[in-house]
Amino acid sequence: MKRAVARAAAFFVSCEFIPIPLRNIVILFILISAFFFSPGASAASSSDPAWRALLHFSGKSGGKSSVAEKSQFFLSPDGFKDPEAELQATLQYFDKSPVEAACRYPARALYLGRVKEGKSDWCERWSKWRTAISAKGAELVLAGPFISSPSAMYGHTLLKFVRSGRSEGEDLLDYTLNYGANTGSVVGIPYVWLGLTGGFNGSYATAPFYLKVKEYNYVENRDFWIYPLKLTDAQLRLLVAHSWELREVEFPYFFLHRNCSFYLLELLEVVRPGSELNGHFPFWTVPIDTIRLLTKENFLGTPRHRASRYRRLKAYREQLSSEEKKLAERLAESGDAGVLPEGRETLILDSAYELWRYRTDGKKESRPEVERKLLDARSHFFLKGAFSPDFSAERPPELGHPSARLGIAAGTNRLREFAEISYRGTLHDLLADPHGYEDYSELSMGDLRVRVEDGTVFLERFDFLRLRSVAPMERWIPRWSWSFRGGLARAKEFACSGWNCLRGGLEGGGGLSANLGPVLGYALWEFEAEAGKPFDRSYRLSTGPSGGIFTPLWKGARMLLEGEWHWRFLGSRVDKHNARLGISQTFSRTWEARLQTEVAHGYREGLLQLMHYF
């Protein structure tokens, strides 16, 4: 429309045979009538960030094409790469079928000022959906870390609509909008590979919050942090309308970058166009980092916490004596435990129920007879003062350290001094402040260390991926410890340095960890495959134990002593043994210092690192 008006006006400007005063009147008439007869359309422009956000042309680069898959979402065949073509096609659609168009694309209707309702299949569906959602507000939900699963430390975010008419704190019946990959029945290594490389498409799905509670709080044992979104009424209306537009649209999923949080920022870009939220995450989008950004950009209010089954179980267990723990365990196994100590019945029965649920939620075998017995027993103490865990002291995870890290270090290896510069993309390691992350979990991606020694610059190490989970094995919460590492590293046992000393390798293993007072001890059995110039046969396959002890020291300080003893069984004749001691001191959320020493065969080094998280 805008283009047509401009063309008409330009035509009259060029009509020199018409006297100038008359020409001006005609042009003025065209412009005024365009303003009055196409409501809202005058504001629409294909370069308008609001329009581009509705089509998901994302990022600072301006996005040459939409991040959505080419689909029926676009009315023009070129809509996914040409916002102007999509605008024209949209205007044509609204001219031709104003009611259907407004109900199929209610956010575009709001943008164009052409909201309309009437009789149509689309309007009926849109009306049912909108009525079910009944949004009086919106919240952002962050699912936190997951035991024994370091990758879950990335977090998961979804949107929740606050339903009008419900009481405060009763949000089970709210609806959520969740972006996730549609992985079908693919599992295992292909699952990870396709997830990392964009092999899956994902979509937004609406589901009640009670299903998300089941999925995350109960089955995966992840805590929720729920942040109110600061939206005006108009923004909320637009958010709901656009959520409807996205119901069948597919978007490519990349675990690290275009993930749940990326697409959640896409939604928020629609309500505050021009924020360029995703421009802050050019390479990877760590959900917990998006929470930090949204807090900084004043999108989020103070969060509230919703504890997982695991967190609840831990809280209950802490209340029990060792005798009571045994009783609760017997109850959770058989539903019977004889006479319970007076005054402690509800606590023991509730602990047993939490344990039974922890063991059976999401599992095939549920043993309903145990449930029946536990609930019957509990009914006898109906409404009796029960212990209720208090999680109000939990601190929200965005207060933890940011995920990227830069470091400088100086050290010596007895023969020479050296300097080191390090950069790590994401996310958390054992020596860092664990707040906001899972205890005893480690996930490092893109950990790069470069050294300068004797005027030579060389790569000290590059860990593409390092995962480690050494959470202690507990009677109620059994879990194995495991580790995986893949990347390049200097083979220090050959006492060499420089590029020629570099080796590539994969290493992984499993074992057990246990708490001995405040000290955690772990032992793993590992396999390692390495190749590189330093080996006398260019490669080495080795296996053997590794272990360590980890303990907090004073405030903000932690210590990790670890070692490996790998016997070679193929390739190079040299075994691998080394030991490392690291002590870290946190100064603030973003600053930390570490003292590290390492011994590998005859090689020894020590260095002092200063690290900045950002």
Binding site: V187, I189, A205, T206, G362, K364, S379, Y539, L541
Partner: protein, 172 residues
């Protein structure tokens, strides 16, 4: 020599992958609709069941946990394609049935304790609020045996009949 190294590394990598894929096939992580296989109430219910997960192998867990970090559709799909829903939301007259079917264990639990968010959410479908939730749960407890034997898919109707018998249940 180099070929040997590559071969050795490839064998290690492929061995691990094959083992993982093999195990994963048998124990893949799937969310099942249990209700349809239990007691033949599939048509009566919403098809949500207890949304149970099968036990998973360690390998499949590693894979699944890796991606679950940043989002995989699970219950959303199940819910979006059930008998009581359209476009991902429950139809107005089946919303309570869907809620009961998915949360029967928690509702029973709240009933035995005497309070809880599942109980008050359920009560809200019958217009009971605040103190009325108490009389609602008393009414349900009177007929607890019926609820105990109900399947998740059929429990919605059982609760309806109890409420009808107790003449609205909120009047107390």
């Amino acid at each position: 020599m180099k070929k040997q190294i590559l071969l050795a590394l490839a064998l290690v990598a492929v061995g691990g992958t094959a083992q993982a894929a093999g195990k994963a096939k048998h124990q893949e992580r799937t969310y099942e609709r249990v209700s349809s296989s239990r007691g033949g109430h599939a048509m009566a219910g919403c098809g949500l069941g207890s949304l149970a997960i099968q036990d998973t192998s360690k390998w499949a867990q590693v894979g699944a946990a890796f991606l679950n970090g940043t989002g995989v559709q699970t219950f959303g799909i199940t819910f979006g394609t059930s008998n009581c829903t359209e476009d991902g939301v429950a139809s107005a007259n089946r919303e309570k049935d869907a809620f009961v079917e998915a949360n029967l264990a928690d509702i029973r639990r709240d009933l035995s304790v005497g309070k809880g968010e599942y109980l008050s959410s359920l009560a809200s479908f019958y217009g009971c609020k605040g103190e009325q939730v108490d009389s609602f749960q008393k009414a349900l407890r009177k007929h607890q045996d019926k609820l105990d034997t109900a399947s998740p898919a059929g429990a919605g109707r059982v609760i309806d009949s109890v409420v009808a018998e107790e003449k609205g249940a909120c009047i107390g």
